[in-house]
C-alpha cells in the first residue's frame, strides 16, 4: 500500500537521476495563481503520484520539471543539471532526449500513422538523427506494446486502449530517464485506467526510469511508491512547502 505524504523511500538514494526543485516561486502572468515551495526531491526509479483537485498546480509542477515553464525564482535540477538555467534550445534538446511525456488526451497527431506518431519526437527535432536504427527502435517499441500489426493505422482507426499504447510508445522511444504523465487516465474507463498505469509501471521498471503521474483519480494510486497531495498548495496555502509533506 502506498504511503500518503511519505518521505522518499530510503532505497532511493540521491543520484544523477534525481529530480530536485529548490525554492520555487512561480506565478502565471495572467492569473493570480502562485506556486511556491522550498524543496521537492524525487529519486531515481521512484514512482510518484501527484494528486489534488483541478487548478491546484499539478500540471504546472510537471511543466516546471519538463522545462516547459520556468520558475520566477528557484532552481529545477534533473540529474544534477539545472534545466531552469538552460537556454531554450538546450532545454528543448534536454527534454526531448531525456524526458518522456504522456498527455491526458494522448495528443496523437491525427495525420500520422502509429509508427510515425511514435517517431514524432524525432521528426520535429532536427538535432535527433532519423536513421535506420531509430526506425527499428520505433518498430520494436510498437511490438513491445502490442501494436506490431497496427503500425500503419491512423489514430482515428484505433481504439482508446491502442491510442494509449501509442502515446506511451512515443514517450518511450528515446529511453527517457524521466517519464511525466499528465492525467493519463483522465478519459478512460476503469479497466483501461488500470491497464494504462500497468503499462507505465512496466516501461518505467524496464528502463529504471522515474515515473511521475499527475492525477486526481484516487482509484489508481495502488502501485505508487509515493503520493504527493497538492490540495494543500491551492487557495490560501499556495505557498506551502512541498518538503513538509
Amino acid at each position: 500500500m502506498a504511503r500518503r505524504f511519505a518521505k522518499p523511500n530510503p532505497v532511493f538514494v540521491a543520484s544523477a537521476y534525481m529530480i530536485r526543485l529548490r525554492n520555487i516561486e512561480f506565478s502565471h502572468p495572467r492569473s493570480t495563481f502562485r506556486l511556491s515551495f522550498p524543496l521537492l526531491e524525487i529519486a531515481r526509479g521512484e514512482k510518484v503520484a501527484i494528486v489534488g483537485p483541478s487548478g491546484c498546480g499539478k500540471t504546472t509542477l510537471l511543466n516546471l520539471i519538463a522545462g516547459i515553464l520556468l520558475p520566477q525564482s528557484g532552481i529545477v535540477e534533473l540529474g544534477g543539471e539545472a534545466i531552469s538555467k538552460m537556454k531554450d534550445a538546450q532545454r528543448r534538446r534536454f527534454r526531448i532526449a531525456r524526458i518522456g511525456q504522456v498527455f491526458q488526451r494522448f495528443e496523437l497527431v491525427e495525420y500520422l500513422n502509429v509508427r510515425d506518431n511514435i517517431l514524432f519526437p524525432v521528426y520535429i527535432n532536427f538535432l535527433l538523427r532519423l536513421d535506420r536504427a531509430t526506425m527499428q527502435r520505433a518498430e520494436s517499441v510498437g511490438e513491445q506494446l502490442g501494436l506490431a500489426d497496427k503500425m500503419l493505422r491512423f489514430p482515428a482507426q484505433l481504439s482508446q486502449g491502442e491510442q494509449q499504447r501509442v502515446a506511451i510508445g512515443r514517450a518511450m522511444l528515446l529511453d527517457p530517464r524521466w517519464i511525466l504523465a499528465d492525467e493519463p487516465t483522465g478519459s478512460l474507463d476503469h479497466s483501461n485506467k488500470l491497464k494504462m498505469i500497468d503499462m507505465l509501471f512496466e516501461q518505467s521498471m524496464k528502463n529504471n526510469s522515474t515515473l511521475i503521474v499527475v492525477t486526481h483519480d484516487t482509484g489508481i494510486l495502488g502501485g505508487f511508491d509515493r503520493i504527493i497531495d497538492f490540495a494543500e498548495l491551492c487557495g490560501a496555502h499556495s505557498e506551502a512547502a512541498l518538503t513538509a509533506l
Partner: protein, 393 residues
C-alpha cells in the same frame, strides 16, 4: 527542412479532400482571369490574322463591321446584295483583283459560298480528296462539313432553296460533291464552295427545264408571237447532268446578278487609296472597307469589356483570399492542441509554425501547378471556336 516538408506533405495527404478544395478554389480564382486573358489574346491574334489576310471588302452600304465579319467568317445574316457588275468598278482600272462572294444559301445547315476558283488560291485551300469545281452544280466542301455530313466525292447534297422566282413551289438544287478540302483551321472548313454561277442558278437567274416547244398545251400559259410562256407545271431541273446542262440558260444580264460581297486585293497602297475614295463616295450605293480596321475597332471594345472582367476577377480573388484566410485561421485554431503538443515534446515555436505554414505553401504550390497546366493546355489546345478565326496557311 526535409522533415518539415515531409510532415506538411503527410498533413496534406491525410486531408486530401480539404486540400483539393482549397487548391480548386485558388486555381479557379486565378485561372479565370488568366484564361480570359490567354483566350482573348489568342482570339485577337487569330481574328486579326484572318482580317489582315483579307485586304478590302466591297459590299452594300450599311454596317461596315457586319460586312467585314460576314465576308471573312461567313457568319450571321447575309448582307444586302450588290450587283455583280460592281466587280468591274474594282477591276476596270487594273489596279486590283476582285473575288466575288455569294453567301445567301445553305445546304443541310452549312453555308453555301459562291465564288471563283481564284478564292481557293487566295486562301491557300488545298483539295485533300477529289477534284475542284468543274461545272455548274459541282461543290467542294470544307473539311468540317465533310466530317459533319459524312460526305465524300461523288455524294450529292440538296440546297435549302430560297428561289426568287419561286411562286408556286420551291426547287432546291442538288449539288454534287467533287472534292473535299484539307483542314485549314479556318471558317473555310465550315462551308460548301460552289461556282458563283451555281448560286445564281439557286437564285433562279439561271435554270434548265424541258423544252417548252415540246410540252403539252396544258403546261402553257399562252403564246406571245413566237414566244411560248410555260406555267409552273414545267419544272426546272434540280440536278445537273450533261443533258440538263445543255438546257441551262440564264435570264437577264450577268452584270445585274447579285453577289453578297467582293473581296478586293489592290495592287498597291496607292490603288487601295484610290479605290477607297472612289467607292466610298456619299452617292455610291456600295462601300469599301478594310476588315483589319473594323476588327481592330471591335477588339478595342472587347478589351474594354475585358477590363470589367479583370475588375470582377480581382474582387473574386480578394473574396476568395479572405475566405481562405478564414479557413486557415479556423484550422489553426483547431490545431492549437497539436502545436502545444509539438512544443511540449521539444519542438521550437518557429519550427511549429514553419510546419503549418509549409502546408499552406504546398497548397499554393499545387494550385500554381494546376494553373500552369491549365494555362499550357489552353495555349496548346485552344478551344474549337478559336480555330474559326485562323487563316489557312
Amino acid at each position: 527542412m526535409t522533415r518539415i516538408f515531409w510532415l506538411a506533405w503527410r498533413y496534406v495527404l491525410y486531408h486530401r479532400w480539404k486540400t483539393a478544395i482549397m487548391i480548386a478554389c485558388i486555381s479557379l480564382t486565378c485561372l479565370f482571369p488568366i484564361a480570359i486573358s490567354v483566350l482573348l489574346d489568342q482570339f485577337n491574334h487569330q481574328i486579326v490574322l484572318r482580317a489582315r489576310a483579307t485586304p478590302f471588302v466591297v459590299g452594300a452600304r450599311g454596317s461596315k463591321l457586319d460586312l467585314a465579319l460576314h465576308t471573312i467568317y461567313f457568319e450571321g445574316r447575309s448582307p444586302e446584295q450588290i450587283p455583280y457588275g460592281s466587280m468591274e468598278l474594282v477591276t476596270s482600272s487594273g489596279s486590283a483583283a476582285a473575288l466575288p462572294i455569294h453567301s445567301k444559301y445553305t445546304a443541310h445547315g452549312k453555308r453555301v459560298i459562291g465564288t471563283t476558283l481564284d478564292y481557293f488560291e487566295f486562301r491557300g485551300l488545298v483539295i485533300d480528296r477529289g477534284d475542284s469545281l468543274v461545272r455548274i452544280g459541282d461543290c467542294v466542301v470544307g473539311a468540317n462539313v465533310a466530317r459533319d455530313l459524312k460526305l465524300k466525292p461523288g455524294d450529292q447534297i440538296l440546297t435549302h432553296s430560297d428561289n426568287i422566282v419561286d411562286i408556286a413551289g420551291s426547287y432546291p438544287v442538288k449539288l454534287t460533291v467533287t472534292g473535299i478540302f484539307s483542314p485549314a483551321d479556318s471558317p473555310d472548313d465550315q462551308v460548301i464552295f460552289v461556282d458563283i454561277k451555281t448560286t445564281w442558278v439557286i437564285d433562279g437567274h439561271g435554270h434548265g427545264h424541258a423544252d417548252v416547244r415540246h410540252v403539252g398545251d396544258e403546261k402553257l400559259l399562252g403564246i406571245d408571237g413566237n414566244k411560248r410562256i410555260a406555267s409552273a407545271a414545267v419544272q426546272p431541273y434540280i440536278e445537273f447532268d450533261e443533258e440538263s446542262l445543255r438546257d441551262l440558260h440564264f435570264h437577264g444580264v450577268m452584270q445585274d446578278f447579285p453577289v453578297s460581297a467582293i473581296i478586293v486585293i489592290p495592287r498597291d497602297e496607292r490603288s487601295a487609296t484610290l479605290l477607297l475614295s472612289q467607292l466610298n463616295r456619299s452617292e455610291s450605293m456600295i462601300q469599301m472597307t478594310e476588315p483589319l480596321l473594323e476588327v481592330q475597332q471591335l477588339m478595342a471594345i472587347v478589351f474594354q469589356i475585358k477590363r470589367l472582367f479583370n475588375a470582377n476577377a480581382l474582387l473574386m480573388g480578394i473574396s476568395t483570399l479572405l475566405l481562405l484566410f478564414l479557413v486557415v485561421m479556423l484550422s489553426l485554431r483547431l490545431r492549437e492542441g497539436e502545436r502545444q503538443t509539438m512544443h511540449k515534446l521539444g519542438c521550437g515555436r518557429r519550427t511549429v509554425w514553419l510546419t503549418q505554414v509549409t502546408e499552406l505553401v504546398l497548397v499554393f504550390i499545387f494550385a500554381s501547378i494546376c494553373i500552369s497546366i491549365m494555362t499550357i493546355l489552353l495555349v496548346l489546345v485552344p478551344p474549337d471556336f478559336l480555330k474559326w478565326f485562323t487563316v489557312a496557311s
